[in-house]
């Protein structure tokens, strides 16, 4: 859980990096690698396609894209024929470094060598810092944040969302250091959402249902019908993985909060990515889900 959280944070930073500078090939590639690790293959594919629009000739990017396409093709066929096959973890090549650029050069693309080397060295600092940040996050992440803000001050204004994401992400740190999920959830709506996603992933229906206010029910269903429906849907698959990616917190009152995030839902043969908005309220001293909808 903690590792996933760090990856999510690192991803948020990378997303801001690539938004600030769409020619940052290393950042795109690293972003794709993290997205793969977080199970967001569509996102990873998009990242690499972005990078390949900038530089169609960087072999590592193409190879990584092919890897993802091949994996997704296999998953699609598995879904088509209802025959899930055992999938090894997918690992992308991480370095868009001179070695790979040289390969391109051999193919007679001198220009690409120079450009790739340039961009590689330009980004080397940021990217290695980022990669390290997965292991030694706190210090490096802070540094990166400032690098990034400095490097891209013009673009950072793109989103208040990005800025409000930072404190939200930081607020999750104490929860990891100690304390039960319940304590964390009292203090932090994002933790409540993460705990809810974990209960869902653990297929722990009681904990899942307890994440909602006692009177919650969607339109058209009674609370009992809804609970029954959720129980079936959560218990039926043999595994579920729900990830909360890039959560952004908005407090709309002392007892009201809103978390917008990208949800990656996976189960056997199923993969759904959506933007979600969850409204929470304090109920019996804890943040509970009051409303759940697609965002945008």
């Amino acid at each position: 859980m903690a590792r996933e959280g760090r990856k999510t944070e690192a991803l948020a930073v990378l997303e801001r990096l690539t938004a600030a500078d769409s020619t940052n090939l290393s950042a795109w590639n690293d972003q794709a690698a993290l997205q793969v690790e977080l199970g967001d293959l569509d996102g990873a594919r998009n990242s690499l396609e972005h990078a390949l629009v900038v530089r169609p000739d960087v072999a590592v990017l193409s190879r990584n894209l092919e890897k993802i396409c091949a994996r997704q093709a296999r998953m699609a066929y598995d879904s088509a024929f209802g025959t899930p096959s055992r999938l090894e973890p997918l690992a992308l090549e991480l370095r868009t470094d001179p070695a790979s650029a040289r390969t391109a050069a051999k193919a007679g693309e001198d220009d690409s060598l120079r450009l790739a080397q340039e961009s590689a060295s330009r980004e080397a600092v940021e990217v290695s810092a980022l990669r390290d940040s997965l292991a030694d996050r706190d210090r490096k992440l802070a540094r990166l944040e400032s690098t990034q803000v400095g490097a891209a001050s013009s673009v950072v204004a793109t989103s208040t969302a990005a800025r409000s994401a930072a404190p939200a992400v930081r607020s999750s740190i104490p929860a990891r250091r100690g304390g039960s999920a319940a304590q964390a959830s009292r203090s932090d709506p994002i933790q409540a959402v993460v705990a809810w996603a974990k209960a869902w992933s653990d297929r722990d229906v009681d904990a899942y249902l307890a994440s909602y206010t006692p009177d919650y029910h969607p339109d058209g269903l009674s609370r009992r019908q809804w609970e029954e429906q959720r129980r079936v849907r959560i218990r039926t698959p043999d595994w579920i993985k729900v990830e909360v990616v890039s959560p952004v917190l908005k407090r709309s009152g002392p007892e009201r909060a809103e978390v917008v995030y990208r949800q990656v839902y996976q189960s056997r043969g199923v993969r759904l990515t959506s933007r979600k908005r969850i409204e929470l309220t304090i109920s019996q001293g804890e943040w509970k889900i009051q409303e759940e909808k697609e965002a945008r």
Binding site: D42, E49, H50, L52, V53, P56, L65, E66, C69, A70, Q72, A73, R74, A76, Y77, S79, A80, F81, G82, G269, V270, R271, L272, T273, S274
Partner: protein, 397 residues
């Protein structure tokens, strides 16, 4: 975003997926964001050599409908084409026996878009559908399509069509276990709300075998209209044991129109779409035959009455001789007869030559007996005139 694809890679994918695309097809108007229209638009993008667009559309499609197997297969092909490793339909899974079924499904669904149902024409079978029915359903087995007709401004008009799957061995069911879907005119006999999830959420048994099937010695049971398993969006064209299977969302959308005991389902191999003039002339000729039968019956002249019956007539255990004997006996006690009918319906029976099924409420009065009944007759065109080959009450279950 458009990334330049390697041409060779691209064409490999293109050849493999575009076999299904008719050379000249237009996208017909249906539900714009249905899974089917998204699939067709995905394939359109492939045809237009826009693999990137095709991939983006397939992303949307499988997000909306992850259990749409054909969509997943097409997506697998598009993705694999990007790696240059797609050499045939369904790539590395082309030898899977189920690949052929999915290819057939793609063909059927695309054909619908290549050539939508004709405007302003209706199936020849709908001569005069029951006036109190909200809808009439027409299945075209070769097109893997179910058409819904509704009365609008006094006319029966097409109001939507849906992909369907039928029996493994096709149509013309004759016997229990032959894995075929019966051809004919059927009625929704009942509604089952709690079905095994394999059949979706709701099922509507048909009255197979109906009186004509019984007369022809056909047997078997359990022919339903039902949905797909809850984890499967749709099934290939020929996969049922004889039932007519619709995707759950399609069945959900049309089932509010279903009236058990009333809604008729015409199951045919190939719908013959005709103009209203053609329908009207058949309707008039059947109605005039019926009127003349009615007045000959009321005349109590048994020979004239019997002239409307075919040599081939049968009703239950009775053949024409039995029928004649019975009628001559009854006629002796009559001094007067009045016959009337209301709520007439006339349908052309698919899979038969010039056979119509005629239903009506019959009001019979005579000096010694009066009654009212729902009557069903089958009339066949023989030597230039309509003859009754079956008469009885409708068998509704």
């Amino acid at each position: 975003m458009r990334r330049p694809f390697k041409r060779a890679m691209f064409f490999t994918g293109l050849c493999c997926v575009s076999w299904v695309l008719a050379s000249d097809h237009h996208t017909g108007a249906t539900v714009p964001d249905s899974a089917e229209s998204l699939l067709v638009r995905t394939l359109d993008a492939i045809r237009a050599e826009r693999l990137d667009l095709a991939l983006a559309r397939s992303d949307t499609l499988v997000r909306r409908q992850p259990d749409f197997r054909l969509a997943q297969l097409v997506r697998g092909d598009i993705l694999l084409a990007q790696t240059g490793k797609l050499d045939r339909f369904a790539g590395p899974r082309s030898s899977d026996p189920r690949a052929g079924g999915l290819r057939d499904e793609a063909r059927a669904r695309l054909r619908r878009y290549a050539q939508g149902p004709p405007q302003d024409l209706i199936p020849r079978n709908l001569i005069l559908p029951p006036s109190d029915a909200h809808a009439v359903l027409v299945v075209d087995s070769r097109a893997s399509r179910l058409y819904v007709f509704r009365q609008m401004e006094g006319e029966w008009k097409l109001d939507g069509d849906h992909y369907v799957s039928i029996g493994r061995n096709g149509t013309d069911k004759q016997a229990e276990g032959d894995q075929r879907t019966p051809l004919g005119v059927y009625t929704l006999a009942s509604r089952i709300d709690h079905v095994d999830p394999y059949y979706g959420k709701v099922a509507f048994p048909l009255n197979y075998p109906n009186e004509w099937d019984v007369r022809e010695g056909r047997h078997g049971h359990g022919i339903w209209i039902h949905g797909t398993p809850l984890t499967t969006y749709s099934r290939p064209p020929r996969t049922s044991n004889g039932c007519v299977v619709l995707p759950n969302e399609d069945l959900e959308s049309i089932q509010p129109l279903f009236q058990t005991g009333t809604t008729e389902v015409v199951v045919s191999d190939s719908v013959d779409w005709v103009g209203r003039d053609a329908i009207d002339s058949v309707r008039q000729s059947v109605e005039s035959a019926l009127d003349s039968w009615k007045s000959d019956w009321a005349s109590n002249e048994v020979d004239r009455y019997l002239s409307h019956y075919s040599e081939d007539f049968r009703s239950g255990n009775q053949d024409l001789q039995d029928w004649e004997k019975e009628k001559r006996r009854v006629a002796q006690g009559k001094t007067w007869i009045k016959v009337g009918y209301t709520h007439l319906s006339i349908m052309l029976v698919p899979g038969e030559k010039d056979l119509v099924v005629v239903d009506f409420d019959q009001q019979y009065e005579s000096n010694n007996l009066s009654n009212q009944m729902r009557k069903r007759q089958y009339w066949r065109w023989e030597d230039g005139t309509w003859k009754i080959v079956f008469e009885g009450t409708p068998k509704l279950s």
